[in-house]
């Protein structure tokens, strides 16, 4: 049953206007990234590669938040949710199916964006290397974590607020990555408070290998494995919270 829900959700997400619209936006952005590379006085290839990888992450996160927050809400609005829930199906199966479907669509989108981005870079003469593929993979994991964040916020608030909170979590998640360098400026209980607060937010900086990949800095295999486990841990936690909220929610 989970796979049936996931399949239907994936198809629905792939057909949604916001998904396709943002993919089109990515394609235009990638074309324009080369123009920025031309404007750059030197190292235009590096500049273009940076922008292409950033666009993949930014558009991916926007797709995840836009689609993730609308997913369950549209089911409630169109009353299709009641058809599903009237069947003998546990709510955790429904939520998990929804997340897996969304994750499948986002993963397909990320793969398409990465392929398009790398093809465009190759076509315009920018050097390609394996690190860029790894950077694309970790960006995709970042997007999947953000999809779980969006789903979790949707369970707790309205879709509009969930989208705003999702984007705020993205900004905070990256701010957390810069915190270790700034924490020593705080002392005593303030430092502890900041550290505890930051620990409650997924550290999205772990997935930003793209900033090193463009310079060809290798990613140790152990580090890659740990990052994937870290992403999986947060996804599991956020989906579990979403399940807990929907189990108690009067729909």
């Amino acid at each position: 049953m989970i796979l049936v829900i996931a399949g239907a959700t994936c198809r629905e997400a792939l057909r949604s206007r916001s998904f396709l619209g943002l993919l089109a936006f990515y394609a235009v952005g990638v074309l324009l990234a080369r123009v920025v590379g031309w404007i750059s006085a030197t190292d235009g290839d590096l500049v273009t590669t940076d922008l292409v990888l950033s666009l993949q992450a930014l558009v991916g996160v926007l797709v995840a938040v836009a689609t993730g927050t609308a997913l369950v809400h549209s089911e409630i609005k169109q009353r299709t949710l009641y058809t599903v829930l009237s069947r003998p199906i546990a709510r955790w199966r429904f939520v998990l199916g929804k997340y897996l479907g969304l994750a499948g669509a986002l993963a397909a989108g990320q793969a398409a964006m990465l392929a398009l981005g790398l093809l465009w870079l190759a076509a315009t003469g920018a050097p390609l290397h394996g690190a860029l593929l790894l950077a694309g993979l970790l960006t995709a994991v970042e997007v999947l974590v953000m999809a779980a964040v969006a789903l979790c916020w949707t369970a707790l608030t309205s879709p509009l607020l969930a989208a705003a909170l999702g984007l705020a979590t993205y900004a905070l998640g990256h701010a957390v990555a810069t915190l270790p360098g700034m924490l020593p400026y705080l002392g005593g209980w303030r430092m502890t408070l900041a550290a505890v607060g930051a620990s409650l937010i997924p550290n999205l900086g772990r997935f930003a290998y793209r900033n090193d990949a463009v310079h060809g800095v290798p990613l140790p295999l152990a580090e890659l494995g740990l990052t994937l486990v870290y992403g999986g841990l947060w996804i599991a936690l956020l989906v579990a919270i979403t399940v807990a909220v929907y189990r108690r929610k009067q729909l």
Binding site: A41, T178, M182
Partner: protein, 373 residues
């Protein structure tokens, strides 16, 4: 309204909007743009604001700052609110966002050393560059060139220069590059002709710029200025030699005197004599023939360059006055009436007034200018 009518209306409106946009984007003349760097976040805050995209944020901020470089080339004062250096604030932020992007250090070197003349600050950035990117050959070469050209390490600090070159050679990855370090030192010694001491430093800076860019034009201009002055010095030496021997100098062609040029140890690549051995001629690096005027050697290219700088200065004064008074003059006559003194015109040059800016129009050189790239 029918569906077809609406479609046509959308097409017409889209065409008008696109044409309007394109009009503002295409066919612009390059004009000096003022840019202020008073409000740049600190490197730590910038990293937070970059939201996981420090590389892209630094590239976009860097490209946006190009207008500031052009502004600085004319103003040469990067002081920002609070008395800090705008260049240093900019490069601290950019390097804080991505310390592995070599052009940041190259630009810092060019702007702080080349434009602002602050070579100690320039060396500080170069040192940070070689620390973060030890294999950046260009940064090592520029460091060595600064220390030799501006601090005379080849004369006063030979042991330390040796240590620096050894560290550079150590950092290079392949044997060819390691050997090139010592070749660089040998090449430097050969170029130490009086008046050409700074040429290796500026040639290094030229490599970090792209042709046609504001910075590229700036560095090429400095190189041509120095080479032209060297040419004047050489030709004046020939003229003095002839006068001392009782030989008259009536025209510039009289200074095309191979024995005396050889006696002065003229640099064959950068000296004032160009063309093949069969038909040598005297040409400044701007492509204009040197002139003999009132008993003095003149480089018309150098005169024209001074004229261009004077016109840019007049344009800056015009922009300031016009903003203060809230209006621009209608034509060139109105510019003088506005209180802006226009520079004297060299032979064949003119001043144009277009799009509220003063522009210098120069005569075409008689020969191809010296190739620097």
């Amino acid at each position: 309204m029918s569906g077809r009518g609406l479609g046509v209306a959308i097409l017409v409106l889209a065409g008008a909007a696109t044409a309007w946009n394109a009009q503002g984007l295409i066919g612009h003349e390059r004009a000096v743009r003022a840019k202020n760097l008073d409000f740049l976040p600190s490197p730590a805050v910038a990293r937070v604001l970059a939201c996981g995209h420090p590389n892209s944020a630094s590239r976009l901020r860097w490209i946006d700052a190009f207008a500031y470089f052009q502004f600085q080339l004319d103003r040469k004062d990067d002081t920002v609110a609070g008395g800090a250096s705008g260049f240093e604030r900019l490069y601290d932020m950019l390097i804080g966002l991505d310390p592995r992007f070599e052009p940041f250090y190259q630009h810092a070197s060019l702007c702080l050393g080349g434009v602002a003349g602050r070579h100690q600050a320039e060396l500080a950035y170069l040192q940070r560059g070689t620390f973060h990117i030890p294999t950046a050959t260009a940064l090592w070469r520029t460091t060595a060139a600064v220390l030799v050209t501006h601090y005379h390490w080849d004369r006063d600090q030979t042991a330390n220069l040796g240590l620096l070159l050894a560290a550079w050679a150590d950092a290079e990855r392949d044997d060819g590059a390691k050997t090139a370090v010592w070749q660089w030192q040998a090449q430097l010694a050969r170029r130490r002709a009086p008046g050409l001491e700074e040429i290796p430093y500026w040639l290094d800076q030229l490599r970090t710029t792209s042709p046609g860019s504001a910075m590229g034009d700036f560095v090429e201009g400095i190189l041509r200025e120095q080479i032209a002055r060297y040419g004047i010095e050489i030709l004046t030496g020939v003229a003095n030699g002839r006068r001392a021997a009782g030989e008259p100098v009536a025209t510039i062609a009289d200074l095309l005197d191979p024995p005396r040029l050889a006696a002065l140890r003229m640099n064959p690549q950068l000296g004032p004599v160009v063309g093949d051995a069969g038909s040598p001629r005297l040409s400044d690096p701007f492509g204009h023939s040197y002139a003999w005027r009132d008993g003095v050697v003149i480089s018309p290219g150098l005169e024209l360059r001074a004229f261009v700088k004077a016109v840019r200065g007049a344009d800056q004064r015009l922009q300031t006055l016009a903003r203060e008074r809230g209006g621009w003059p209608e034509d060139l006559a109105g510019v003088s009436a506005h209180g802006v003194t226009l520079p004297a015109l060299p032979a064949g040059a003119a001043i144009l007034y277009r799009n509220r800016h003063l522009l210098a129009e120069l005569p075409k050189p008689s020969h191809p200018p010296l190739t620097l790239r």
